[in-house]
Amino acid sequence: MEKILEVKDLNISFHTFSGEVKAIRGISFDLNKGETLAIVGESGSGKSVTTKAIMRLLPENNSEIKSGEILFDGKDLTKLNDKHMQKIRGHDISMIFQDPMTSLNPTMKIGKQIMEPLIKHQNMSKHAARERAIELLKLVGIPKPEIRVNQYPHQFSGGMRQRVVIAIALACNPKILIADEPTTALDVTIQAQILELMKDLQKKIDTSIIFITHDLGVVANVADRVAVMYGGKIVEIGTADEIFYNPQHPYTWGLISSMPDMDTDDEELYSIPGTPPDLLDPPKGDAFAPRNPYVMKIDLEQEPPFFKVSDTHYAATWLLHPDAPKVEPPEAVKRRQNQYVGIKGGK
């Protein structure tokens, strides 16, 4: 598969009044052409920071990329100058934000907002850009695009606005689309529509998507591959099936089993105790150790490296070390593993 984006050993810190916050602590991943990579994690795990770094949207006054590379098209995005970056932003890589209410300019007609990147990046004439805007609105499923193109954002509902935002992001046929919790602010029924739309469009224009979310249901719906982040690091990465049916990291176990599915009944929900680490002063060893029910002495001393589970599946936990004792994952995870073995055997 063709790699379109490579992130290598990225480290990012924020300088705050109370000290240096190590928001991203050495993450590496690739994005293949035409795939959807979901990044999951709780707030503060660094998932948004990672994508902001790719877009170079981090606040300049207090953030610092300490080391690492972001390779796109043979260029290191961390070292590009602003002018160059502006050309890439919106043209090669574009972004959809969480809140469709604030990511549109309320005083500008929808059509104009879609036409802007077209005129800027693709030197289209005004007339051609307008035609394309109508076409895009039709593509994202907005009825009567010829009329809608002349309306203002407040005349659209939340779901419709998010469709417009998607239309703007897709205007220049970007190679990569970064979606930062694009459905979190929407209702379930609207969310389902938007997810369907995104999958549909991806097939049509063959773009790669980085999808950030904390909702595992959404991940299961859209993702080809999944990266699980915790405390500024990727702790497990693999295909969606591998993550959902054969997870290896105790944090992933916790995430998956803490969601009740439709047949969880009266048993107590599995929950991960404690709170996320304070990245001002990350604990020694594995950042997850204090909340890990399977914690071993080594977890408190050394950060675990990535252990290979399969060609596409890696997890950073000492439990995978050959010397580590065998542990029983939570019930819900075991159920899933059995289910997976069943499916695989059936194939």
Partner: protein, 312 residues
């Protein structure tokens, strides 16, 4: 069912905003349901469907436009003496949605939690007051040292637990939880839900659990009401609602929840709901009808017969 005691009866509750103006909003429109003692009643629906407004009207944060709320047979709304009001405040409490906005940033945790104790004079001495605070902190899984800190030092999940401790301080019987987990991370949601469930058992609490996350609601609730544009469209025991959703809106809502299961996600079919599909005639009476015992649906006479046939 009959032997269960009704704690709350909500009868034809109406909450309109901007009454008489062109932008009149019927946030809650003629909603009736009962809440039994010791149960968890779930209330789901999309944003703007009036579920939060229903909760807030029940606890008197808004004055109802019409209808009544009976608590143990006594109407909560209408003119009340100060003492009666205070009694209601002690019996009914609320847990809020946004853990970042629900704690006063200038107060120490001890003072946040003790507010109810102070208002209702539940502690005679300062020492007793602090002991109550420590006890409550422990109940929600925090400890003594947290009492002297400020809200901004806590994570979202911890703040939500502090919010629960504040509600518990006045020893209420009934708690309205207004989307208590929707602002929390997945790993923390389970903590809070477990805590709420455990507290319910220990203290024999009754909950009205308002949320849009249906899987959590299903997990915690005994019965679930589904709201759509200010009206309750379906009310049934949790299991029943998931197995036999009758109203097309409930069906569409259930079909839209993504489950953390890629294989079933690949084959999921989404149903969409169009209110026009009912094709009600002008003279048809659309009301809440009991299709099977305990399972109510908002429907016309014609649909009612259809649903009954379906269930059989």
């Amino acid at each position: 069912m009959a032997e269960r005691q009704k704690l709350l009866e909500i009868k034809n509750l109406k909450q309109y905003f901007n009454v008489g103006k062109p932008n009149e909003v019927r946030a809650v429109d003629n909603v009736s349901f009962d809440i039994y003692k010791g149960e968890v009643m779930g209330l789901v629906g999309e944003s703007g469907c009036g579920k939060s407004t229903t909760g807030r009207t029940i606890i008197r944060l808004y004055n109802a436009t019409g209808g009544e709320v009976l608590y143990d047979g006594v109407n909560v709304h209408g003119k009340k003496s100060k003492k009666q009001l205070k009694d209601f405040n002690r019996k009914m409490q609320m847990i809020f949605q946004d853990p970042y906005a629900s704690l006063n940033p200038r107060l120490k945790i001890a003072d946040v939690i003790a507010e109810g104790i102070d208002i209702h004079g539940l502690a005679k001495t300062k020492q007793e007051r602090m002991e109550r605070v420590y006890e409550l902190l422990e109940t929600v899984g925090l400890n003594k040292e947290h009492a002297n800190r400020y809200p901004h030092e806590f994570s979202g999940g911890q703040r939500q637990r502090i919010g629960i401790a504040r509600a518990l301080a006045v020893q209420p019987e009934f708690i309205i939880a207004d989307e208590p987990i929707s602002a929390l991370d997945v790993s923390i949601q389970a903590q809070v839900v477990n805590l709420m469930k455990q507290l319910q058992k220990e203290k024999e609490l009754t909950y009205l659990f308002i949320a849009h996350d249906l899987s959590m609601v299903k997990y915690i609730s005994d019965r679930i009401g589904v709201m759509y544009f200010g009206k309750m469209v379906e009310l049934a025991p949790a299991e029943e609602l998931y197995k036999n959703p009758l109203h097309p809106y409930t069906q569409s809502l259930l079909s839209a929840i993504p489950s953390p299961d890629p294989i079933s996600e690949r084959t999921r079919k989404r149903k969409s709901y169009d209110p026009a599909s009912h094709q009600y005639n002008e003279n048809e009476l659309v009301e809440f009808r009991e299709v099977t015992p305990g399972h109510f649906v908002l429907c016309s006479e014609k649909e009612f017969k259809l649903y009954q046939a379906q269930v059989k």
